[in-house]
Symmetry: C2
Subunit: 192 residues, 2 copies
Amino acid sequence: MPVAKGSSLDPERTRAAMLEAATVVFYERGLDGVGIAELCASVGASKETLYRHFGSKDGLIAAVLQARSDRNYNWLRQAAETGGDDAAARLTAVFAVLGNWFAEANYRGCALMNAATQRHFEPAHSLAVEHLDRYQDLLTEIAALAGVADPERTGRQLLTLLEGAIVLADHHQRGRAAADDALAAALPLLSS
Amino acid sequence: MPVAKGSSLDPERTRAAMLEAATVVFYERGLDGVGIAELCASVGASKETLYRHFGSKDGLIAAVLQARSDRNYNWLRQAAETGGDDAAARLTAVFAVLGNWFAEANYRGCALMNAATQRHFEPAHSLAVEHLDRYQDLLTEIAALAGVADPERTGRQLLTLLEGAIVLADHHQRGRAAADDALAAALPLLSS
DNA sequence: AATTGATCGAACCGGTCGGTACCATCACTA
DNA sequence: TAGTGATGGTACCGACCGGTTCGATCAATT
């Protein structure tokens, strides 16, 4: 059977286009800063189509956040793997990826944390928690690889530095420097 | 001349009551989560009075954020002073205050950072920057007192830990533990 | 050619928002 | 007692929101 159905495009492509457009515009202007009508118009779709795909604005937001969490986590995980079995190299690679992210012109902090701050509906909060859990697991693995006395505690401290850098890169010192400072504070923790 | 004018109360008291109510409800439910009408009703005032005092909702928000920044900063500054001329004691006192804050039942992160994330109007952003500047100055003083090689850099790293702890206490590990982990990571930085 | 199903575009709905205008009321002053 | 000025309450405004509905359209199928 052919893939294309409906009017002009594969429904999956329409859904993906909506997700992508929503990801960009929600990140730039906030979850309440853009309406459904404008979002649909920007991808040439109708509101009916959006509601068939996502059910509600909150459903769309949840899908956007899930996709964003997956993408960002995979970035860090793949970066860490380039460090081989050297804990310091893994950590350095993670913060290098963060630095590149901070340097992007449209950097606006972590979409997951921002959403949990902006909205009080449940998916946003639980997705943020899962996001932080994955980050913490990744960092705890690095701490364990380094042979620290309490890997989970060191993992939490590394996560504190990572999230602090995300905040400062957004609201204070723009760009890569936030990651450099955080990495310099993080590396000695691997010798505890 | 008597102080009380108008109908029932001193105008200054009415203004202060509005500020206090707005501070609480904006912090709990977000800047867009509560309307002007509800806010006025909760203090028994009229919208006209609010607009005479603050000009606009953004004006009210700016006043709320300024007051909150002053209060939080003074808390940390006064705590630091209890540490005397011992840098580690000053830092420990600062994070002890943070821990108490994190343990409050209605803790919702830093109102300044939240506002800068939620809204894109200028006062919120510049107030957040000034807020972070003051925190960084406070921490840089401590770093200098400890005699570190690069006090400003150490100050930025301490600020990274502080802000990271604020985020994690809000969205991940509830309560005082976030401050304890951050302090344990911060103290060794005073020996650099 | 007829049918089907997804789509677009637009109208529509109820509700909420920030902000303004007006009026009766109150405490105070002269 | 007459007047002043800030107030609370209320109605109102225009705009926007999330969400629903409906008819016209168009591609793929039968």
